[in-house]
Symmetry: none
Subunit: 202 residues, 4 copies
Amino acid sequence: MKKKDLTKEKKILDATVEIIIADGAAAISTTKVANKVGISQSNIYLYFKDKRALLDGVYLREISRLGQTAGMKLVLDPNEDILTRCFMYLKSMYDFSLQNPHSLYVLEQIKLLSKDAADYLAQLVGPKNPMAELFTAGINSGVLRQIDRSLSMTVLFSVIEKHTENLQNGLYTEADVSFETVSRMIWAALTVVPYPENLLNK
Amino acid sequence: MKKKDLTKEKKILDATVEIIIADGAAAISTTKVANKVGISQSNIYLYFKDKRALLDGVYLREISRLGQTAGMKLVLDPNEDILTRCFMYLKSMYDFSLQNPHSLYVLEQIKLLSKDAADYLAQLVGPKNPMAELFTAGINSGVLRQIDRSLSMTVLFSVIEKHTENLQNGLYTEADVSFETVSRMIWAALTVVPYPENLLNK
Amino acid sequence: MKKKDLTKEKKILDATVEIIIADGAAAISTTKVANKVGISQSNIYLYFKDKRALLDGVYLREISRLGQTAGMKLVLDPNEDILTRCFMYLKSMYDFSLQNPHSLYVLEQIKLLSKDAADYLAQLVGPKNPMAELFTAGINSGVLRQIDRSLSMTVLFSVIEKHTENLQNGLYTEADVSFETVSRMIWAALTVVPYPENLLNK
Amino acid sequence: MKKKDLTKEKKILDATVEIIIADGAAAISTTKVANKVGISQSNIYLYFKDKRALLDGVYLREISRLGQTAGMKLVLDPNEDILTRCFMYLKSMYDFSLQNPHSLYVLEQIKLLSKDAADYLAQLVGPKNPMAELFTAGINSGVLRQIDRSLSMTVLFSVIEKHTENLQNGLYTEADVSFETVSRMIWAALTVVPYPENLLNK
DNA sequence: TATGAATGAGTGTTCATTCAT
DNA sequence: AATGAATGAACACTCATTCAT
């Protein structure tokens, strides 16, 4: 169970993601993943003890990717003012999604497969999450709408994911539906303050 | 493939829905469904030619349930003013979801299982849909936000679904998070006009 | 199990034959036959107690059709001279096959499905068969080759069947490969006497 | 799909052939084959990707066996005179069939099961087949009867197959019906020249 | 570290057959 | 005479997982 060859582990995760994108998470099988990587099926079990562990691997990598997004540093900086942090969070997510057009979809697909979806989401939205504190602060400072955080998160993620999907499918271009348009909508849902025009080109 | 025993067909659909709720759409198998109904597995094929047809059956029943919601008549009435119609649409969906707490989840699960999700969604959001006209009118009359309809729909459905789920899971009660709270959030995202306070208790 | 409606029985047999021709005997199923006839599946069991009985029905009808061929009267007439009877048998089979291009194929396909093929063939070539006597006489009178009858029959049937199949498939036309050509070949295999030119246009 | 254990693959093919011989090709099922070999059913899919591939495997092995028959070298030698080559072909087939009493039957059964029989036959009788050239030469040199090759092949194969079957069934012995007897019959059907007595004991 | 071999449980689907109406 | 409903057995095929090498 020692994972020496990190390259191989990465290849396996990549292949899994490819399959999710192409056929959905329900279509994942160790056979298909192994074929895609070009290794033997049983080899996968050296890197992941389970199919479950494989899915977890994909999920966690995607989550951590999301956490390492550039703008995140600013978002988590407690010295920055709340409104800016909130807006930058929105912008970071948007940028991240356009740069990793399949990330949110992959996350959703994996959640779909697990009944214990709540457990997973917990790692993202859960109480231990650094984001929780931002939300609390946001509400307390009168920026964010006073509503359960899960609903705000839902708006944020579902709109950005749908928008990304639309762009991928060529339904429209970013010229037609810009960041400003999308973020105004999300901002209206999440906050009770005017859209921060000044932050737009920051 | 004649379906005399409508009771049985209903039972099969019900069992399928139960499984989706309990374990997700990916967990559906004809065997499980049959066991739940208490019939032989092959019997299912007398009522549904395919597993696909079974899923379609579940999907369509849920969709039609949604379309028959009380408030829908008002929503589709072209003599009513646009703002009222939009608000009533939102309210109808909200009420429907609370009364059928699993409907939206079931619909989403089935959509996520099918790659041809677009085809399905089409029946709901598609151009032939009577809702499309409401949206166009809503935008033209300056009530709705000028943004691709799919994004507005996403906000509407995902928030209501999440809210319903939260209530189901006992995360909070309707006293904590009321229709007004939720609808204000959605309204802010969907429209560019003030929340119609007067329609609240209509 | 009373077979009142002879029309229906015929329709079932016809449908079965159609399926054999299209997809082979292995593809026969009561469902397919019933669908083709436009009756319910269980209805078939009123006319045939078994799938086996259905196949038998097809087989026997085809066999009896073969026995009722015009030229057969002459063949079985013991007053006619042996050489003529032999030639007419060959000609009868040839004509029959061209007029019923699927008959021999159907018979072969049904035999394929039964291990007890020998039992079936028996009805055709067996000792009780009137043809047996013709063969014995043919050999005794020095017309037919002294060889086990089954081998002669094999040449006769397999060549005619293949020829019919070739014509059906458009591999060549009767202008290219005439009765004379084919019958000369068969005649050479079956007999030890010259080809009866005079009987050709009889 | 790598096949290291050639023994196992062979065993599977052998079991399949046994079933064909006992019950006909239509009776083949992966379960039966697996049971006969004494392995789990799914194991078969490690050696053959398909049931189709399994049948192909049986077919091709039988075909190649046929091609490797001793006398074949002489048959294909273009320096040998045509009449000898033709006779040796006949003799090779005869010897092969008696030594592999089920080969021709197995081949026929598999062909009958496939609608695409033509494709299969092609490998045996097809235009790319070295035998095709022998036939053309045979006709041009005035040895073979001027008739479509498929008809000649039919006589050759069906008679030898039937003869082999008769011997197997104990209908008669080789003392009763010798190679000479059978080959004279086939020779008469295939050629327009006298039987080559001198080649008999070669 | 990697693989080929193996398997048992499970998949959706078709089938021949029976029976009450 | 005809049918809809029902079923158990069989089918080809896929899967996650294990193990010896």
